[in-house]
């Protein structure tokens, strides 16, 4: 019954939506007239709620409020102001961008220009800082090649100093050679070398050390005007020490497996001491 009534009630509602009256519906479904009358009484009751209406004063005020809310917003941001607001933001942004680009490019330029510098030049510290930064940024797997590059740099710098430098600065060259040694060790630690490249690196380092020794000898001669015999003694001494050194080398090799030029480096140091003694 309830299902049937629901069906009839909904049919009546559809008819009323189409413009038919309640009376027409009650007549059409006269079988359920009593029940339908009760339902429509409730619907009629609900219709009373339409009496709830806003005040006429409120209706007018609200309309004014709607218009004013949109108008005030238009006044707040007129078109001309919008452009100014845009410019006010854009201008500092553009200036900042220009400064940033300028600073960025000049730094990049400086870093690039510093790549050919040697110790003693203004840009040399920049070169070294760039190397440090690269070392920080590169992944572990590429650090071996980077150290090899630095090793080349140090050797090259020492070579240039030996070629061009008028007054031989022993401390700087010694330091460069020590650094080259340390880079060589790092290359080895990172497993960068194969047998041929390691040999090349050793040869390269040996060559520059040889050059340093020759140059040192020349300089020594020029400065002190030492006699040839003394130089001979000196070189004999050096040779003796060298052989002595060779005896000790066996034990040293265990500690410094990776510094092939260390021996000649220490030779240089000994020569240096000798030179000083003879000067005194």
């Amino acid at each position: 019954m309830s299902k049937k009534l629901e069906k009839i009630f909904n049919k009546c509602i559809s008819l009323i939506d189409k413009g038919y009256s309640i009376k027409y519906c009650l007549e059409k479904y006269s079988d359920c007239r009593k029940e339908l009358e009760e339902y429509f009484a409730a619907v009629k009751e609900l219709g009373k709620l339409k009496e709830v209406k806003p005040d006429s004063k409120y209706i007018t005020n609200s309309l004014n409020k709607i218009y004013s809310s949109t108008e005030t917003k238009e006044i707040k941001v007129p078109k001309t102001d919008r452009i100014r607001v845009g410019a006010a933001i854009l201008k500092p942004a553009l200036i900042f961008l220009a400064v940033f680009v300028f600073v960025g490019f000049s730094f990049a330029g400086t870093a690039y220009a510093s790549q050919d510098s040697v110790p003693g030049e203004i840009l040399y510290p920049v070169k070294r800082s760039t190397e440090d930064v690269r070392l920080l940024l590169y992944p572990e797997s590429m650090k071996g090649s980077l150290h090899y590059k630095f090793l080349n740099n140090r050797v090259l710098e020492a070579g240039i100093l030996l070629e061009i430098g008028e007054s031989l600065d022993i401390e700087i060259i010694e330091k460069l050679l020590e650094e080259a040694d340390s880079e060589f060790r790092k290359c080895k630690r990172y497993g960068y070398f194969n047998s041929s490249s390691e040999e090349d690196a050793v040869k390269m380092m040996e060559k520059v050390r040889q050059k340093y020794q020759n140059r040192y000898r020349e300089k020594h001669k020029e400065k002190d005007g030492v006699e040839e015999g003394e130089t001979k003694n000196d070189s004999e001494c050096f040779r003796e020490e060298n052989t002595g050194q060779n005896n000790e080398q066996g034990s040293m090799e265990e500690n410094e497996e990776s510094s092939p030029g260390k021996q000649s480096n220490t030779e240089g140091k000994h020569k240096q001491q000798k030179g000083k003694e003879s000067r005194n």
Partner: protein
């Protein structure tokens, strides 16, 4: 309805406030009632109605609506504003998009404002309102939209995002319950 269609079309084409005002005067009492029966607070109902028509005024010309779709669009905005209102009231924690929770927020607002209703609606309507208060939130929404705002089933289904058949069932059950409640009140 034909008139509303023509007002909407003319307002969209010309932007003349005259046509907007015609639409406003037709829908404004409906929206006011929607809020009024949800909140039982005249002042808040007025504020929310104004806020809704500000939004409608700003957006109407950008849309392409007829009377039916305008109805759906407006009631959806009205519902969103109501949710925002509850959030602002600090009921945000209680609020949940699920209709059951929403029901909890609105249920009882009829009876708790009984003195207000008596003053505003008269004693007879007060009885009716008490009976409505005993319905579920969904039943209440559906019968108010159907018999007070005179929407067809299709529009109600789209406003409430329900199936048409479901809406029909809810209407019948709500009226059956209401009929019994009113009968009991009279006895």
């Amino acid at each position: 309805m034909e008139n509303i269609n023509s007002y909407l079309k003319r307002y969209k084409n010309s932007g003349d406030k005259v046509w907007f005002e015609k639409i406003y005067h037709h829908y404004m009492p409906k929206i006011y009632r929607f809020y009024y029966f949800k909140l039982m607070d005249k002042q808040t109902a007025e504020d929310l109605t104004s806020e809704l028509f500000i939004r409608v005024y700003k957006g109407l010309r950008k849309t392409n609506l007829n009377s039916k779709t305008f109805n759906i669009w407006t009631y959806r905005i009205a519902n969103n504003l109501l949710i925002d209102h509850f959030r602002k009231m600090g009921k945000v924690d209680e609020y949940n998009a699920a209709s059951e929770k929403f029901d909890d927020l609105t249920k009882g607002s009829f009876s708790t404002n009984s003195s207000f209703i008596r003053g505003e609606l008269g004693f007879e309507n007060h009885k009716l309102v008490t009976a409505i208060d005993r319905l579920s939130k969904l039943q209440r929404d559906v019968i108010l939209l159907k018999f007070v705002e005179e929407m067809d089933y299709d529009t109600i289904a789209r406003v409430l995002k329900k199936r048409k058949a479901t809406v029909r069932g809810i209407v019948f059950r709500a009226i059956t319950k209401l009929k019994t409640e009113i009968k009991e009140e009279h006895e």
